[in-house]
């Protein structure tokens, strides 16, 4: 059995959006006891990641350090769009646009501190992501 659902979201500049509750709910409603959950976003200036949800300042640290690693510079060779866009492409490539997770005992298997997050490297934008559920049998 395989299920696919599309989720929409609106972001702000350099947003960090929690997807955890929506994905957990979708998995539980699917009735799949054992299997895989694949989360994918079809954007090139955004990414998906797992990080701790306990301290919201951690989200700021995450975006700050991503920006320190890949600052928005004016000398990117990609100049068709904007420097923000060029930096966003690199951030997206390095962090990735998909997450494979395990479904066990009818629930999403995530650590007690782990949350699933959409990272915006542009914004404000209208964004989307997909969740695919694959049952083991």
């Amino acid at each position: 059995m395989a299920l696919l659902k599309n989720f929409k979201l609106k972001t702000i500049h350099n947003d960090v959006v929690s997807l955890t509750d929506d994905i957990k709910k979708y998995v539980e409603e699917s009735g799949v006891k054992e299997g895989m959950c694949i989360i994918y976003t079809p954007h090139t200036t955004a990414a998906l990641t797992i990080t701790s949800f306990w301290d919201p300042n951690g989200f700021l640290d995450l975006q700050d350090d991503i920006c320190r690693l890949i600052p928005t510079r004016i000398d990117f060779k990609h100049q068709h769009d904007t420097p923000q866009d060029a930096a966003g492409h690199i951030k997206s490539s390095l962090i990735g646009v998909s997450l494979p997770l395990i479904i066990h005992d009818g629930k999403l298997l995530v650590g007690h501190s782990q949350g699933i997050y959409f990272l915006e490297f542009d914004g404000p934008r209208n964004r989307e992501y997909f969740v695919k559920i694959l049952a083991d049998s």
């Binding site: 500049h13 928005t72 004016i74 000398d75 990117f76 100049q79 068709h80 769009d81 904007t82 420097p83 923000q84 866009d85 542009d122 914004g123 404000p124 934008r125 209208n126």
Partner: protein
């Protein structure tokens, strides 16, 4: 078939398609003509041009400032050539950015201005349809225009394309500098395309109204074109078409200044008066006051506006033009009724464009008077 059909009118009817066609041509070009480092180095912008190109510069000056956050001034070619202070040129590397517009590209004074700006350290961008012309040859960068040929008439298609090219440059510079997002910038670009569709839908009603106004005004010897802010350039364009197409006296003036000067004129019932007064213009309240004074004076009046609540009278005609989501894009189409008016008046008085450059006007044949001039670089 309209029995007063004319080349200016046919140009106006070609504008909706031209907007769509030119957008496809110019949008990618305006992305490439300046590199990101060049865009980030801009500290001040100077827009220049002659005639309709000067009007296009005025039409977009506020757009440049609002969209890029960079101080922008409009300077005539002659002042840029002969008077603009050297210490204001090259005050920082490659500054100011001088954007010079000339579709023909062969105007001597524009070539002189660009050469002088380059000499003293400015960065120059020529917007021109003539790759072999003096503007293209002397500019640091060139944004090439490619306007499909059309039946000759006083500049209408070329004016629209000049305004569009400048607006797209302003949007691009603001987008790259992060003043607004790519999505917001694209929305602004699409607003320009939408205006073309609106204009196409509005043209028949607009045409009918303007033809009636021209019929009433055909014996007038003087015309006032009044507007403020975004609408001033449209007023400038309108007065220019009267001179070019009809050969009669016309004046363009800022809405405020009209109440300092033009309203003193006698024979007020014989001066065709066009007030460009859009609802989103910050000058709108003043435009409404001035409209009242115009009516008190008995001025025959055509109000060009995006408002739809005007009630026509024997004295006053309200000519509705496209309402845009972004006021800065309005100059793209709001000159259309003014071109129609000039075209109809030309037919009604039996005039010829530019007096045919015959007799005492023969010195201007082929644009000679503006193409051939002593070049002075000081």
């Amino acid at each position: 078939m309209n029995n007063m059909d004319n080349a200016l009118r046919r140009q106006v009817y070609s504008l909706p398609d031209l907007i769509a066609q030119q957008y496809e041509d110019l949008e990618p070009k305006t992305r490439k003509v300046l590199s990101t480092p060049e865009i980030f180095s801009i500290q001040r912008i100077v827009l220049t041009g002659c005639g309709d190109s000067y009007a296009a510069a005025m039409a977009t000056k506020h757009a440049f400032e609002m969209l890029t956050n960079i101080p922008t001034e409009v300077v005539t070619a002659l002042e840029l050539s002969r008077l603009y202070q050297k210490k204001q040129i090259g005050f920082a590397p490659h500054n100011p950015l001088v954007i010079a517009v000339s579709n023909s590209g062969g105007v001597a004074r524009i070539g002189e201005a660009v050469e002088r700006m380059n000499t003293y350290g400015a960065f120059t961008l020529g917007i021109t349809g003539n790759p072999d012309g003096v503007l293209a040859q002397k500019s640091s960068r060139v944004l090439p225009l490619n306007i499909p040929s059309f039946e000759s008439a006083p500049g209408t298609r070329s004016y629209l394309v000049s305004v569009m090219a400048l607006l797209l440059m302003a949007i691009r510079i603001g987008e790259v500098r992060g003043v607004r997002t790519m999505d917001a910038s694209m929305d602004m670009r699409f607003d320009m395309l939408e205006q073309g569709k609106q204009l196409a839908a509005m043209l028949p009603a607009m045409d009918e109204k303007v033809a009636a106004v021209a019929t009433k005004w055909k014996d007038f010897d003087a015309f006032d074109y009044v507007g403020g802010g975004f609408d001033y350039a449209t007023a400038f364009y309108g007065h220019a078409k009267i001179m070019e197409a009809v050969g009669k006296y016309a004046m363009h003036i800022n809405t405020e200044e009209w109440l300092h000067l033009n309203f003193f004129m006698r024979k007020s019932t014989e001066i065709g008066t066009v007030l460009v007064a859009n609802s989103t213009n910050p000058c709108d309240s003043r435009s409404q006051e001035v409209e009242g004074y115009m009516q008190t004076l008995g001025r025959p009046l055509m109000v060009v506006t995006d408002k739809t609540d005007g009630v026509d009278t024997e004295q006053t005609t309200y000519c509705t033009v496209p309402a845009t989501r972004y006021p800065i894009t309005m100059p793209l189409t709001h000159f259309a009724p003014l071109a129609l008016l000039a075209g109809y008046l030309q037919v009604l008085v039996g005039e010829e464009d530019g007096r045919g450059c015959k007799d005492q006007w023969s010195f201007a044949q082929g644009g000679k008077a503006v193409k051939e001039s002593k070049i002075v670089i000081d």
